[in-house]
C-alpha cells in the first residue's frame, strides 16, 4: 500500500469512527444552552423552574374568530376533549362548575385548613365575636353568598380560607368562559404533564391541542375560528425549529458559496473535493469532540459549523495555492510554520471559551477548536499524501497586480484609518453606557413579536409569572410543610403591612400533620360547644338553637382523619400543592411564590423588608428577574475575562514565536484597529452588544492574526509573492463567507459572532496590508 492509500485509509477509519459517534449523539435545541453548567443554589432554583417548574409547563390558548357564543362553544368543546387526555394535568377555561371539587374540599376540611382555628376561637368570647362578625357580614353585599353556609359555618372559616387565596386577577368572562379584556378571544390555561424541558413532549402536546381544536371547531361549526398558543413550551418548540432550519440553511449557504469560490480558483473537481476534505473532517471532529465531552450537542453549536467551514477551508487553500510550484516539502518548510502559528492563535481564541460556565459558549469553543485543529492536521498530514505532487492549479498570477495596487492604495490611507479608528474609539467611550444589552433576553431566540403576543395573552389570562419566590428545603415532607407554615406566618405580617400582595403555599391546602393535629385538638367536644354557644349567643340575633348544624359539623371534623396528599386528588388544589412542594433527590423543597402588592405600589416587591422578615427562617428569597440579570452579568463578566485571557494567550504565543516587539506590534496593531472599527460599526448599525459580540472580538484577533502573520512573514522574507497573496485573498474570502453567513441568522448567538467576525476578518486582512512594511516589489 502506498503512502496515499495508507493516509486515506487512516483518515477514512477516523471518519467512520466519528460518524458512529455522531450517529449516537444526542442533539438538543433547548435552553440548557443558556443555563449555567455549575449553578449556585439560587440559580439551581431558576434552572429547576425553567426546566420543570409549573410555569414552564403552562400553555396559554386563545381562540379567535366567530362570535362570543361560538368561541365559548369551542372553548367548552376543547376543554372537554383535553381534560380527558393524560398529556394534560389541568385544563381551565373558567366554565361554571369547574371549581366545585375545590370548594367542596375546602368546606369539608375547613376546620383543619383555617388558620383561625385555635382553642380561643371556641371559647364563649371567641364564638361570640366570630359569629357576630358573620352576622355583620350578612349586612354586607357579600352576605347573600354566606347566608346559606351560616348555620353550618357560623364562625366563618370558609370566608377565612377564601380570603387567603388570590382573588385578585381573574380573567374576564364572556358567555360563561374566560375571555380577553377586549372580549374578542376566548382563553384557556393548560398545564402539560410533560416537563417544560422536554421539547419533544411539548411539541406533541401543542400538536394535540391544535388537532383537538380543529375538531372542536368543526363540531361547533365555526370554520373561521383560529387558535393561538403561547407559553414556554411553544417558545422551546419554535426555537428548536428556528435553530434546526437555520443550521441546515446556513451550512448550505456557506458551503455552496465556498464551493463556488474554490471551483473558481481550482477549476478542478478533484482539487475541489480534496480541498473540502479538511473541512468535512473538521466539522465531523467538532461534533464528535462535543458529543464525547458533553454528551449532548446543542443545535446552535452545529449551526456554528457554517463559520467553521469558512475557517477550515483556508488551510487547504494555502496548501494548494502556495505549494503549486514549490512542492509539498518546500511548502512545509516555508509556509507551514506561519500557518501553524495561525492555527495556534485560532486555537488559543477558541480554547479560552472552554473555561466558560455558560455551557453554550464552552461547547462552541470545543467544537471550533477541535474542528480547526483537525482541519489543519488533515491538511498537513493527509492532504499532501492524497493529492500527491500532481495538483496543477490554475495560474493565479493575474490576481497579484490588482491586489498589489490595492495594497499600495491602502498603505497610503494609514493616517485616515488611524484617525477613523480614534474617532470610532471616542464614539465607543462616549456611548459606553448604551453599548450593552442589559439582560439575558439578548441571547434568546424568541422573536419580539412572539414575546409581545405572549405578554398580551399572559396579561389577559392573569397567568402567574412567578418572579418572586421564597424557597425552603427540608429533609422530609412534614418538615418542609412545617417550615412553609413558619415562613407563612412571617409572610402574613408582610401581607398585613402591604409589603406583598399575597403568597401561595402548599401548606394552605396541605397543612403539616402537626398543625392539623393542633387544629383538631382546638375543637371542643360537642356538649361543651353547645353549652358555650348558649352563653355566647344569649344576646345575638342568631340564637344558639338555630346552630344545630354547626354542632354536627364540629363533631364530624373531630372524627375526620387528617388531610394527606391523596385527599386532594381530583381537585385542582392537588396540582397547586404538587407544583409548590417538590421531592428532590436529597430531600424536599417548598416554593412560596410571592405576589406584588399591586395597585399604585406597582408590580415590584420591595425586596429588603421581605428578606429581613424571612431572615432566620431558612427560606431563600429569589427574585427571578434579578437572578436572570445576575446570571447574564456573570456570563458577561466571565466572557470579558475569558476574551482577555484568550487575547493575552495569543499575544504571549506571538511574542514567544516572533521574538520581536516590533513584529509583534505590527501583527497586533491592525487586529486591534479592526476590533475597534467593527464594534463601532455594529454600534452605529443600532445593534446592542451582548456577550457573543465580545466573543466575536476575541475571534477577530484569533482568526485575523492568520492574515497578519502572512504579512509578517512576507516582511521577513522581504517579498510577498503572487501565490501567497492570492491564497490570502481567497482564504480571507472563504472565512468572511463562513462567518458572514452567520450574520444572516436570526439566532442572536450566531448572528453576533457572524456580524463581528465576518467583516472583522476582511478588515483584519485589509488593515494588515495597510500597515505591512512597504513592499519592495
Amino acid at each position: 500500500m502506498n503512502a496515499a492509500g495508507r493516509a486515506f485509509l487512516i483518515w477514512l477509519l477516523a471518519m467512520l469512527a466519528g460518524a458512529v459517534v455522531v450517529w449516537n449523539s444526542h442533539f438538543s435545541a433547548d435552553m440548557s444552552f443558556f443555563l449555567p453548567g455549575k449553578p449556585s443554589p439560587t440559580q439551581q432554583v431558576l434552572v429547576d423552574q425553567l426546566k420543570e417548574g409549573v410555569v414552564s409547563r403552562l400553555l396559554m390558548v386563545a381562540i379567535e374568530g366567530g362570535d362570543a357564543a361560538q368561541r365559548a362553544a369551542i372553548s367548552r368543546q376543547l376543554h372537554g376533549r383535553l381534560e380527558k387526555l393524560p398529556e394534560f394535568v389541568a385544563v381551565e377555561n373558567g366554565q361554571a362548575g369547574s371549581l366545585d371539587a375545590d370548594r367542596d374540599f375546602l368546606f369539608r376540611h375547613r376546620y383543619l385548613l383555617s388558620p383561625a382555628i385555635k382553642p380561643e376561637r371556641f371559647t364563649v368570647d371567641g364564638l361570640r365575636d366570630s359569629i357576630a362578625n358573620s352576622v355583620d357580614l350578612l349586612a354586607s353585599p357579600a352576605g347573600m353568598l354566606i347566608k346559606p353556609l351560616l348555620p353550618r359555618d357560623p364562625t366563618g372559616e370558609m370566608i377565612e380560607l377564601l380570603s387567603g387565596l388570590n382573588a385578585g386577577a381573574q380573567p374576564n368572562v364572556s358567555e360563561g368562559v374566560w375571555a380577553s379584556r377586549d372580549g374578542e378571544r376566548a382563553l384557556l390555561l393548560i398545564q402539560s404533564a410533560a416537563l417544560g424541558s422536554d421539547t419533544d413532549a411539548q411539541e406533541r402536546a401543542i400538536a394535540t391541542i391544535r388537532n383537538q381544536f380543529a375538531e372542536s371547531r368543526q363540531d361547533a361549526g365555526v370554520s373561521d375560528a383560529r387558535i393561538e398558543i403561547s407559553g414556554p413550551g411553544v417558545f422551546a418548540v419554535k426555537s428548536r425549529e428556528t435553530i434546526k432550519s437555520e443550521v441546515s440553511k446556513l451550512s448550505a449557504i456557506s458551503m455552496l458559496a465556498i464551493v463556488a469560490v474554490l471551483f473558481f480558483v481550482y477549476r478542478s473537481a478533484r482539487l475541489l473535493s480534496l480541498g473540502l476534505l479538511p473541512v468535512v473532517s473538521g466539522a465531523l471532529a467538532g461534533v464528535v469532540a462535543v458529543s464525547l465531552v458533553y454528551g449532548t450537542v446543542f443545535g446552535i453549536t452545529v449551526g456554528f459549523g457554517a463559520a467553521l467551514i469558512g475557517e477550515a477551508v483556508d488551510y487547504s487553500i494555502y496548501y494548494f495555492v502556495q505549494s503549486g510550484r514549490l512542492g509539498a516539502a518546500e511548502w512545509r518548510a516555508r509556509f507551514w510554520p506561519t500557518i501553524r502559528l495561525g492555527v495556534l492563535t485560532s486555537v488559543c481564541g477558541f480554547a479560552a471559551l472552554l473555561f466558560s460556565g455558560f455551557p453554550g459558549l464552552a461547547q462552541l469553543g470545543l467544537y471550533s477548536l477541535s474542528g480547526v485543529l483537525t482541519a489543519a492536521l488533515v491538511t498537513r498530514f493527509t492532504l499532501p499524501a492524497l493529492a500527491g505532487n500532481d495538483h496543477p492549479i490554475r495560474d493565479l498570477a493575474h490576481l497579484a497586480p490588482p491586489l498589489k495596487r490595492a495594497i499600495g492604495i491602502l498603505q497610503g490611507l494609514r493616517w485616515p484609518i488611524v484617525l477613523l479608528t480614534v474617532a470610532a474609539a471616542t464614539l465607543l467611550v462616549v456611548n459606553r453606557h448604551q453599548l450593552w444589552h442589559p439582560n439575558l433576553s439578548a441571547l434568546s431566540t424568541v422573536s419580539a413579536e412572539d414575546s409581545a403576543a405572549d405578554a398580551a395573552l399572559r396579561a389577559d389570562i392573569g397567568a402567574p409569572d412567578s418572579r418572586y419566590m421564597a424557597v425552603i428545603t427540608a429533609a422530609d415532607r412534614e418538615a418542609a410543610l412545617q417550615a412553609a407554615e413558619r415562613a407563612g406566618q412571617k409572610l402574613d405580617t408582610l401581607v398585613a403591612e402591604g409589603v406583598i400582595g399575597g403568597y401561595d403555599s402548599p401548606a394552605r391546602f396541605l397543612p403539616s400533620q402537626a398543625t392539623q393535629a393542633i387544629r383538631r385538638a382546638s375543637l371542643p367536644a360537642v356538649d361543651e360547644l353547645a353549652a358555650r354557644l348558649q352563653l355566647a349567643q344569649a344576646d345575638s340575633p342568631l340564637a344558639a338553637n338555630k346552630l344545630g348544624a354547626f354542632l354536627d359539623e364540629i363533631a364530624l371534623a373531630r372524627a375526620q382523619g387528617n388531610i394527606s396528599r391523596q385527599t386532594l386528588d381530583g381537585t385542582s388544589l392537588a396540582l397547586a400543592v404538587d407544583s409548590l412542594l417538590l421531592q428532590r433527590p436529597d430531600g424536599w423543597s417548598v416554593l412560596l411564590p410571592l405576589r406584588p402588592p399591586g395597585g399604585e405600589k406597582g408590580v415590584d416587591i420591595d425586596i429588603e423588608p421581605v428578606r429581613a422578615a424571612l431572615a432566620g427562617s431558612g427560606a431563600l428569597l429569589i427574585d427571578m428577574k434579578v437572578e436572570f440579570d445576575r446570571l447574564y452579568n456573570d456570563y458577561l463578566d466571565e466572557a470579558t475575562l475569558l476574551s482577555l485571557a484568550g487575547f493575552v494567550a495569543i499575544v504571549a504565543l506571538l511574542a514567544v514565536t516572533l521574538r520581536s516587539a516590533r513584529r509583534l506590534g505590527a501583527v497586533l496593531l491592525p487586529l486591534l484597529l479592526a476590533v475597534i472599527l467593527i464594534v463601532a460599526g455594529v454600534h452605529l448599525a443600532g445593534e446592542k452588544l451582548h456577550l457573543m459580540h465580545l466573543i466575536g472580538m476575541l475571534l477577530i484577533v484569533a482568526v485575523g492574526s492568520n492574515y497578519a502573520l502572512f504579512f509578517d512573514r512576507a516582511g521577513k522574507e522581504q517579498r510577498l509573492d503572487a501565490p501567497t497573496l492570492a491564497s490570502m485573498a481567497i482564504a480571507n474570502l472563504t472565512t468572511a463567507i463562513g462567518f458572514g453567513t452567520l450574520a444572516l441568522s436570526s439566532v442572536p448567538v450566531l448572528h453576533a459572532v457572524g456580524i463581528t467576525v465576518g467583516p472583522g476578518a476582511v478588515l483584519a486582512l485589509l488593515l494588515s496590508a495597510c500597515f505591512s512594511g512597504k513592499d519592495g516589489d
Binding site: 355583620d136 349586612a139 354586607s140 353585599p141 347573600m144 347566608k147 348555620p151 381573574q170 398585613a496 342568631l542
Partner: protein
C-alpha cells in the same frame, strides 16, 4: 267569558290613565337625566335565621352610567365599588374583586340597581318584566325576574322613587328573606 272580558276591561281601565300620563319610557327618561349624586342609605335585612333584622347604614354615590359606590359605616366599615362589571369589596384589611361577567346571576342582580339608576330599559328588560304604578312624582317600579336562575334567588324587586330619584329598593328573596334599602339624597354643592 264575560267575566274574563270584564276583567280585561277593568285592568285596561286601571292601566290607561297611568300609561297616558306616565309610563316606563317616561320614567326611564327621567332616570336617565340623573347623572349622579350622593345619598345616605339605611338598609334592613329581614332574615329568617335571625331574630331581628340586620341594619346597616352609610353613604352611596352614583355616577352615570355604571359607577356605584356604597360605603357602609355601620355596623362595620365596608366599601363596595361597582365599576362597569368589576365589583370590589373592601372590608377591614381584606379586599376582593369579582368580575361580574363571571357570575351571570349576580350581574342580573346588579343590573336591577344599575339599570334603574341609569334608566336603561333594555338592560332591565333583559332579565325582568317591568310593572310601573303611580305617577311621575311617586312611582313604584316592580321587577319580576324572567329567568329561572334569577328567580331562584330573587322573587321580586320593588323600586320606588319620585321623578328621576330612586328612594328605596326592596328585594324579596326566594327563601322569603327580604331587604329594604332606603336612600335620602344629600344635596350636592
Amino acid at each position: 267569558m264575560i267575566k274574563r272580558l270584564v276583567g280585561c276591561l277593568f285592568l285596561l281601565a286601571l292601566a290607561l290613565p297611568a300609561s297616558a300620563a306616565f309610563d316606563v319610557g317616561q320614567l326611564m327618561t327621567d332616570l336617565a337625566k340623573n347623572k349622579g349624586g350622593k345619598a345616605r342609605f339605611t338598609e334592613k335585612k329581614f332574615i329568617s335565621l335571625l331574630d331581628k333584622p340586620v341594619v346597616s347604614s352609610g353613604e352611596m354615590s352614583y355616577t352615570a352610567p355604571d359607577r356605584l359606590e356604597k360605603r357602609t359605616l355601620v355596623p362595620k366599615v365596608e366599601t363596595l365599588l361597582l365599576d362597569k362589571d368589576m365589583l370590589s369589596i373592601e372590608r377591614e384589611k381584606q379586599k376582593f374583586s369579582i368580575n361580574l361577567a363571571n357570575q351571570p346571576e349576580a350581574l342580573a342582580f346588579v343590573d336591577s340597581i344599575r339599570g334603574t339608576l341609569s334608566g336603561n330599559r333594555a338592560a332591565l328588560e333583559k332579565n325582568y318584566a317591568l310593572h310601573l304604578s303611580g305617577n311621575a312624582d311617586k312611582w313604584v317600579l316592580t321587577l319580576l325576574p324572567s329567568d329561572q336562575k334569577i328567580s331562584a334567588l330573587v322573587l321580586r324587586i320593588t323600586v320606588s322613587g319620585s321623578r328621576g330619584l330612586v328612594r328605596s329598593i326592596e328585594y324579596l328573596q326566594a327563601d322569603g328573606d327580604r331587604s329594604v334599602l332606603n336612600m335620602e339624597p344629600i344635596a350636592s354643592k
